[in-house]
Structure formats: C-alpha cells, structure tokens
C-alpha cells in the first residue's frame, strides 16, 4: 500500500519542494528576459519572415495581363489585407527591388473592396471568416490571392502557404488564377501541390 507509506509522502513533499524551486528560478529568468527585452518591439517571427520571402519571390513567376499596369514603369503592388503579420519586414524586403522594370511596393488595406488595385494580395488570418466574400469580390480582377489559413482553397483562393512538417508548402489553384487572367510559371507550379476547390 504505497499510499500509506510515510516514505511516499516524504517523496511527494520533496518533489513539490524541488518543483517550486525550479518554478521560482524559471519565473525569475522569465521576468529577467521580459525586462531585458524592454517594451514590446515590433517583431516578426521566422515563419512570417519566410512567408514574406515567398511574397517577394512571386512576381517573377506570375504574368499579369498588360491592362494590370497603367505604364511600363507602374509598380507591382503587394497588398496586405487585415491584421499585418509582417510588420515593416516586407517593406524592407521589397525596397529598391524591380521585376521586369516594375518596382515592387507594399500597401495595406482594411477592407477587401479597397484592394482591387493591387497585384498580389495577402489576406491575413484575421479575415479568415471573410475569405469567400473577399475572393468573390476580386473575381475577374488580375489579383493573385494568397493566404495561409485553412479553408482558403475551398473559398476559391489561388495560393495557400501551408505548413507541413515545419516547412512551408505551396498549394496552388491554377484554374482560379487562369480565370483572373494570370499565368503562373510552370517553374512555380512544379514546386506546388495543385488543388481544385471541389477536392478542397
């Protein structure tokens, strides 16, 4: 009967004591780190730095119809709709970069209706509930829609940045892109998993 054994209680008491001690040290370290880190900095996780890298790379693989640009020097606009997970990181990444003579710029939108003038639109997870509405509002516009939350494919989105085994994987719906007049390079398609909304 282990429960009646005073040695058993002695052990439990010791474990609790040690646990409290470790907890105390951990709490001290944590508060030290918090103090050292200072006020909340504008931070971007590794995940969103990599995702920003994908957005930055996409223009090389997409062909927009000529009407998508007012002039040959008009910028390629990467839009971010909803809560911005990239902070200033995306801006720093595209600064001074050009693709096919078009400089790349970043714009942020609060509402889906405003975003029709961009070329690539990243729809933040904060808008996940609105995916179908946002995507259908952009139908026929030459906007490459990108998101990372589940359900984007079903809503008719074009590119999802999914995480598998800790790495980012591309899910592309080529039919949706084609319907909007966008041509996606086979070099990118080769690296992606093709999806059709019916199969989710």
């Amino acid at each position: 009967m282990e429960f009646l054994n005073p040695i058993f209680y002695g052990r439990i008491a010791r474990i609790v004591r040690r646990g409290c001690m470790l907890g105390f040290v951990a709490a001290t370290c944590l508060s030290g780190v918090r103090a050292a880190a200072g006020p909340e900095p504008a931070t971007v996780s590794a995940e969103y730095r990599v995702k920003a890298g994908f957005l930055f790379n996409f223009p090389q693989f997409i062909e927009w119809p000529a009407r998508a640009f007012a002039t040959a020097q008009a910028p390629i606009v990467i839009g971010v709709l909803g809560e911005d997970p990239f902070g200033s990181y995306l801006d720093e990444l595209v600064r001074g970069e050009k693709v096919g003579g078009h400089p790349i710029i970043v714009r942020r939108y609060r509402r889906g209706d405003d975003s029709a003038d961009c070329h690539i639109l990243f729809i933040s997870g904060s808008e996940a509930g609105q995916f179908p509405k946002i995507v259908s509002a952009l139908a026929g516009r030459s906007v490459l829609t990108v998101a990372d939350e589940d359900g984007f494919e079903r809503a008719g989105g074009m590119v999802r940045l999914a995480i598998e085994n800790g790495k980012i994987r591309l899910r592309i719906n080529p039919d949706a892109a084609k319907a909007s007049g966008l041509a996606i390079s086979s070099k990118l398609l080769r690296l992606a998993k093709m999806i059709t909304p019916e199969k989710g």
Binding site: G19, C29, A37, V44, S45, Y48, N165, G166, K167, I168
Partner: protein, 606 residues
C-alpha cells in the same frame, strides 16, 4: 531572405525552436532526418524500429524488449556514448549510463521528426553526446487536431491500440491527449524455446501549445506509462514513470530569440532478483540566440539539473551509497561566423559543465562548412566530448558487503573523445541527393576493470585504464526514381579498436568493448502503386560482430498499405521476413533470437 529562391525558402524550418531554426549549424554535421511520414511508410511500431531508418546508427534488437543502439561504435544494451532526447527531455539514464529503450515511447503518428546526428554534439548538448545525438520531436498540438484511432495485431506485436484527440481550447491554444497500449510476444533462445520475455505497456499523455501570433510559443506536455515485462525468474519486471515539461520561446524582430525549458521526470523500475530503482530528474535550460551584425550569430545558454535516485539493493549487488543526489551546472556559448556570405561558415563554441564526480569539463568544437556553389557542401570539424561517470561506473559493488569481488570505481574519470570529421553533401539533381561523412575518433580514459591485488583475478575495481580509436564512413543516397517511387540507401563502414594503457591490466576488453559490425547496408523502397495503394520494402544487411562470435545477417520488412478513403488506412506488415528467427546481438550464452512477425493495422482519423 532576399537572396533565397522559392526552393530554398521551402527548405527552411519555420516552426522549429531549436538552437538554430534554420539549421545552418547542422549543415556541418553528419545528420540524418527521419520524418513522421518515413516512419509510417516503414511500418515501424516502436521508436527503435523507426531508428533502423537512420543508416548512421547501429540498431540491434537484443530480445523482445531490449535494444542496443548507437552510432560510431561501442554498442551495448546501455550504449553509454549516445545522448537521446524526446522533445528536449534527456532519456539517458544517469544510473546505468545509457537508454532504457523499452520505456521510451510516444504516439508514432504524432511524431514530427527524428534527427540522428552521428558524431559528437557535446558543444550544444553536453556530456554523453560523445558518439551521437538522437533528437526526437513530436508535432505541435496545432498540427494534430481531430481524432485518430489506430488498432492492430499479429504474431510478434500481438496487439496494439492507440487513440488521440486534438482540439482547440481558445484562439491560438491547441491541445491533444493520447492513450496507447501494446502487448508484444516473446523472443526465443537459439534453437527455438521461448525466452519468456513477452511484455506489455500502456502510456498516456497530453500536449498543449499556445502559439501567440508572430513570435511566442508556450508548450506544456507530459506523459505517464506503466509496463510489465517478462523475465526468466520468479516475477515480472515492473516499470513506470511520468514526466511533465514546459517550454517557452519567443523570437524578436532583430532575429534574436530566447527559449526557456523546465522539466521533471520520474522513473521507477523493479527488477525482481536485482535492483529496484527510483530516479527523479529536475532540469532547467535557458538559451538566447542573437545575430551580431551580418557576420556573427551568437548563441549562449545555461542549464541546471538535479538527479536524485533511491536504489533498493540486493545481497548480490549494490549501489553504495544506495541513494544519491547530484547536481549538474552547465553553460555554453557558440558563434556562427559567416566568413563569406552563403559560401563559407565557421562555428566555434564550447560547453562548460560542472559535475559532482569530475568537476569542470570543457567540450569545445570548431566546424567549418563550405558551399562551393551549386547544391553541395563540404564540411569539417574538430571537437571534444566527454562521457561523465554514471553511478554504475563509480558506485557498483558486488556482493553488497565486504569482501567485495567488484569494489566500485572511485577512480573512474570522464571518458574523453577528440573527434575529427570530414563530410560532403550534394543535391546532385532535384531527384538525387548524396552524402558522405567520414571520421577519426581518438578516445582516452575508457572504462576498464582492473584487479586490485594482481596477480589475483579478484577483487576488481572499475577504472579508466583503456584507450581506443575508431574510424569509419557513412554514405547515404536518396533517389526519387519517379514521382511514385523513392529509394533510400545507406552504407556504413566502421572499425573500432581499444586497448589497455601501458602498464594497465584489464579484464574487460575482449568481449565488453567494440561490439560492432564492421559494415552494414540498408535499402528502403517507397512505392505508390496508385493513389490508394502503397508498397514499401526495407532490406538490411548487418555484418558479423567478431568479439561476440555473432554471424552477419540480412533481413527484410515489407508493408502493403491501402487508403480506401482519406480518413482510412489499412496496412499489412511483415517484419524480419527472411528467417523464422535470427540473432542481432550478444555473446552465445546470453543470446536471444528475434522471430519473423506479421501484423495488420487500421487507422481511422476523424
């Protein structure tokens, strides 16, 4: 990020909280990675079986439940130069120096990956990471949402049931709970009679992950298990244990990150006719990584561990004193220096540890990696690692009262290794990858057994009177023959030599050190017959182990998998099909043989 192609971006780890999320450090080591998908396709039913997929490991099944697993030689039932971590928790027993593989388990379906690093990892991981590190990580609860039921059974794995459910507690807070049970059949003695070592185990556990958007993750997880193992003798072995771990990590906008981890682990094992042991481990680990300008990436950390054990001795053998408490203090610092961007990297660092038996130990290393262009890397390293004495090295007496035949090991000091490595890795084409790692290891102060009053054979004491060296090469190839067919091959060549220091009389060398095959070969084939059918096969050859008079053997595993619907998977698995029974380890008298096994398995996710 600017310079990276889409392919390179796809290769980056984005969810890891390890010492280097982007794994640059491992570019300069002999690492092999086993993914959860590899394990599923191999039909592995336990962690040791999954480890057969890493060709840089020697994996030998000793009997129904015991395994000898190491890289780069000195294999044994307690392979004492191999450090093993499960989700950051060390499972190397400080009592016996080695790993009780029979109680290391988890839901294999929820495994993310197993990293097997052959070669010293002491600068990062500390003492006992001498010949290698096995780093087992499970998926975040975010990635195991929903239910999973797994059931199966057959001839050797008689029955196995697993259930997991994962859900969301609040926005960004995910959990999972699991429970599993299995019952495994006996191995046999040479010639066929049963070895009476059937065993069964139940395990349950949970994991909660709080992933705050952008930068912070907080994980709490725990497991508890209970096992009953057959043995020759009056009664079964009972083992149980539990652990709980908390980990907090945060990354900052300047590329720096911090990680704090705390865990408690308890193990209990009662071996009728031998020891009963209770071990409590309390561990705290902190690390901070920070890029210093474009050239340097600096990581430092501190750690503390307290291990308390209580042994119930027998008249025949005793740990003296029967209980002990030992503290370990550690600190490490490491700098990754970009000598030429994207081309040439140097890592230098050291760990400093203080143990109660041996005082201060230094474990420095330097690693250089050169990417001459294209998808290839040449790397080299020099490192030092130590195996610090465990209780069994210092405190084991036989019998329990004088006069002793084995009289402890008060003079045992740390085993020391200086390792030289040279490796090459290439992605020859998108379909074909190749890697080669070679090494020369120079050991001193290896454990010996020395007579106290020569020329009398007894009493003996344990000491540190041996030295040795080993050399070898590990070659792997990964070929995606077609989009439906993948082949992985591994070949490992190894030579281990040990000898007494001049003037030392040692009674252990011949059969207790260097129980290693000189070569082994493995081939894994993963074939998608159609969208619903998979056929996978593993073939392995392990060379003879000379000082155990153990012949070499070949064995094969085959799996046929069927997915009639995305939520269903049925499979038929055959293990060790080439012989009705075969031996993988041990000298003739103690040898057990592993039988051919067949089992069926069904998985339903909802």
């Amino acid at each position: 990020m600017k310079k990276l192609s889409v392919e390179q971006l796809m290769d980056l780890e984005v969810t890891s909280v390890s010492k280097h999320p982007e794994k640059l450090s491992e570019a300069a080591s002999a690492i092999q990675v086993i993914t959860g998908e590899d394990i599923r396709r191999a039909g592995a039913t336990s962690l040791p079986e999954a480890l057969r997929l890493a060709s840089n490991l020697e994996v030998a099944q000793i009997d129904s439940r015991q395994w000898a697993i190491t890289s780069r030689g000195f294999n044994n039932v307690f392979a004492d130069k191999m450090l093993v971590l499960i989700d950051g928790r060390s499972v190397y027993t400080p009592l016996y120096a080695g790993v009780y593989w029979d109680v290391q388990d988890t839901m294999l379906e929820d495994l993310d990956r197993i990293e097997v690093i052959s070669g010293p990892g002491a600068t990062q991981w500390g003492a006992n990471a001498v010949n290698g590190v096995i780093n087992i990580t499970t998926k975040s609860a975010k990635d195991t949402q929903g239910g999973l039921l797994v059931g199966g059974g057959g001839t050797e794995l008689r029955q196995s049931e697993e259930a997991r459910y994962g859900g969301k507690l609040a926005p960004n807070i995910y959990y999972r709970v699991y429970v599993k049970y299995f019952d495994r059949s006996d191995s046999v003695r040479p010639g066929g009679p049963t070895a009476n070592d059937a065993w069964r185990m139940g395990q349950t556990g949970f994991r909660v992950d709080w992933e705050q958007p952008l930068d912070t993750t907080f994980t709490v997880q725990g497991d508890a298990y209970d096992a009953t193992m057959g043995q020759v003798g009056p009664d079964n072995i009972r083992a149980n244990g539990n652990n709980v771990l908390g980990r907090w990590s945060r990354s900052f906008g300047d590329g720096s990150n911090v990680k704090l981890q705390v865990y408690y682990d308890h193990t209990h094992r009662r071996i009728p006719g031998s020891f009963t042991q209770d071990i409590d481990t309390y561990d705290l680990d902190f690390q901070h990584q920070r890029p210093l300008g474009p050239i340097n990436n600096f990581v430092w950390g501190v750690g503390y561990r307290l291990v308390e054990d209580a042994i119930v001795n027998t008249p025949a053998n005793a740990f003296l004193p029967p209980s002990s408490g030992q503290q370990l203090f550690s600190a490490f610092a490491q700098d990754e220096i970009t000598l030429r961007k994207d081309r040439l990297h140097l890592m230098v660092g050291t760990k400093v540890e203080h143990t109660e038996y041996t005082g201060v130990e230094f474990e420095p290393s330097a690693r250089l990696s050169w990417t001459p262009g294209g998808e290839q890397t040449i790397w080299s390293s020099i490192s030092r690692a130590v195996r610090t004495p465990s209780r069994i090295d210092r405190d084991l007496y036989s019998p329990a009262t004088p006069p002793y035949r084995i009289a402890g090991g008060g003079n045992v000091v740390s085993e020391k290794l200086t390792a030289y490595e040279l490796g090459y890795r290439a992605q020859v084409s998108p379909q074909f990858a190749l890697s080669l790692a070679t090494f020369f290891n120079d050991y001193s102060n290896l454990r010996s057994l020395e007579p106290l009053t020569p020329p009398l054979a007894f009493p003996v004491e344990q000491s540190s009177g041996l030295r040795g060296h080993s050399t070898g090469a590990e070659l792997t190839a990964d070929w995606r023959v077609t989009s439906a067919w993948r082949l992985r091959a591994g070949y490992t060549e190894l030579r281990v030599h040990s000898e007494p220091n001049p003037g030392t009389i040692d009674r252990s060398t011949r059969d207790s050190i260097g129980r290693d095959p000189n070569h082994q070969f493995s081939l894994h084939s993963l074939f998608d017959l159609s969208a619903h059918w998979e056929c996978d096969a593993d073939l392995r050859y392990v060379g003879p182990i000379a000082n155990q008079n153990l012949p070499g053997y070949s064995e094969a595993d085959v799996r046929l998998g069927w997915r009639p619907a995305p939520v269903w998977e049925l499979s038929l698995n055959g293990q060790n099909l080439l012989h009705s029974h075969h031996a993988e380890f041990n000298r003739p008298g103690a040898r057990r043989e592993i039988q051919r096994g067949v089992f069926a398995k069904a998985t339903w996710s909802f």
